[in-house]
């Protein structure tokens, strides 16, 4: 019975950590978590997973030569920002 309930809630956890669920469903999840260590761990580690991805993103910069080749492939060399 309990495990069945865990699975039902699993569908909502992503929306829960984004704060997009209505108060009633939030309360239901929080009540469940208070008595279910497994789900509490899943929620905490799910939240941390998203946080880690968002906070450890290395900046992606387009290299200058990629830009040059892009402009060349589009026949736009004359508009290259650094072109004189």
């Amino acid at each position: 019975m309990e495990q069945h309930h865990c699975r039902d809630l699993l569908e909502s956890l992503s929306e829960y950590i984004d704060g997009n669920l209505g108060p009633e469903l939030c309360l239901q999840i929080e009540r469940h978590m208070a008595g279910c260590e497994n789900c509490r761990v899943v929620v905490d580690t799910l939240r941390k997973t998203v946080y880690l991805y968002q906070s450890t993103q290395e900046p992606v910069k387009m290299p200058g030569e990629v830009r040059e080749r892009l402009y060349r492939s589009l026949d736009l060399e004359q508009f290259l920002p650094d072109a004189s």
């Binding site: 992606v60 387009m62 589009l74």
Partner: protein
């Protein structure tokens, strides 16, 4: 988050200060402005999806070549930026699917492999010190975990969680309902959580929480 670490303002919210009329008449100056405004963003998105500089460069070029050809048929119903994202993500998905033997269709139906998985790794790593969660080896593992997502989950995760697009925006780019975006994002996040739990559990020898029925 954006490159400079600020809370992301999706490209889709940028002011669309382009003359559609000029673009559709083949005005090179206006097209160069469009390329200048969006090439960095498109490159970043496709790099995040493909993790391969050569593939990303090919997709970047193909995106703007297709955009230039397709502009005359652009009906203006979506924003130019949404339309560019759509071309780029479609191109990147084709590259991913070429290397993903189980998938064939572009308008991929929701597949069996996207079914909701029961969490198996119940290891409480969330309160480990940040410096242990963010080592360079851990970062490499995070990238590896994204690579192991199927293309249809990966693209949603990249657009929503890495690029910061809203559910509605991601749905418009991918031609998916908001419900489908939410479902795929949920699957992607749960799978990544599962991978990271396995990784941190192993590297830090964490004891699994005992599940009901296991004893």
């Amino acid at each position: 988050m954006t490159d400079d670490g600020t809370k992301s303002t999706p490209a889709l919210e940028r002011t669309e200060a382009f003359s559609l009329e000029a673009l559709q008449q083949g005005d090179r100056i206006e097209f160069a402005r469009l390329v200048e405004a969006y090439s960095d963003i498109i490159y970043r998105v496709v790099m995040r999806m493909l993790e391969n500089t050569q593939d990303a460069e090919d997709v970047l070029q193909e995106t703007f070549i297709k955009a230039f050809r397709g502009l005359k048929n652009f009906d203006g119903r979506s924003k130019l930026s949404t339309w560019l994202y759509r071309i780029a993500t479609n191109e990147a998905l084709m590259v991913l699917r070429r290397g993903h033997k189980d998938t064939v269709s572009i308008d991929e139906p929701f597949q069996e492999e996207e079914d909701l998985d029961e969490p198996r790794q119940i290891v409480d790593w969330c309160c480990m010190p940040e410096e242990e969660l963010m080592t360079s080896e851990a970062r490499r593992y995070l990238d590896h975990a994204i690579d192991s997502l199927s293309p249809s989950l990966r693209v949603v995760f990249v657009l929503r969680d890495l690029e910061g697009l809203s559910t509605a925006e991601a749905g418009e780019v991918l031609n998916l309902s908001e419900t489908a975006v939410k479902t795929r994002l949920s699957r992607a996040r749960l799978r990544l959580r599962e991978s990271l739990s396995g990784y941190f559990g192993k590297t830090h020898r964490l004891q699994p929480v005992i599940r009901e029925g296991d004893v």
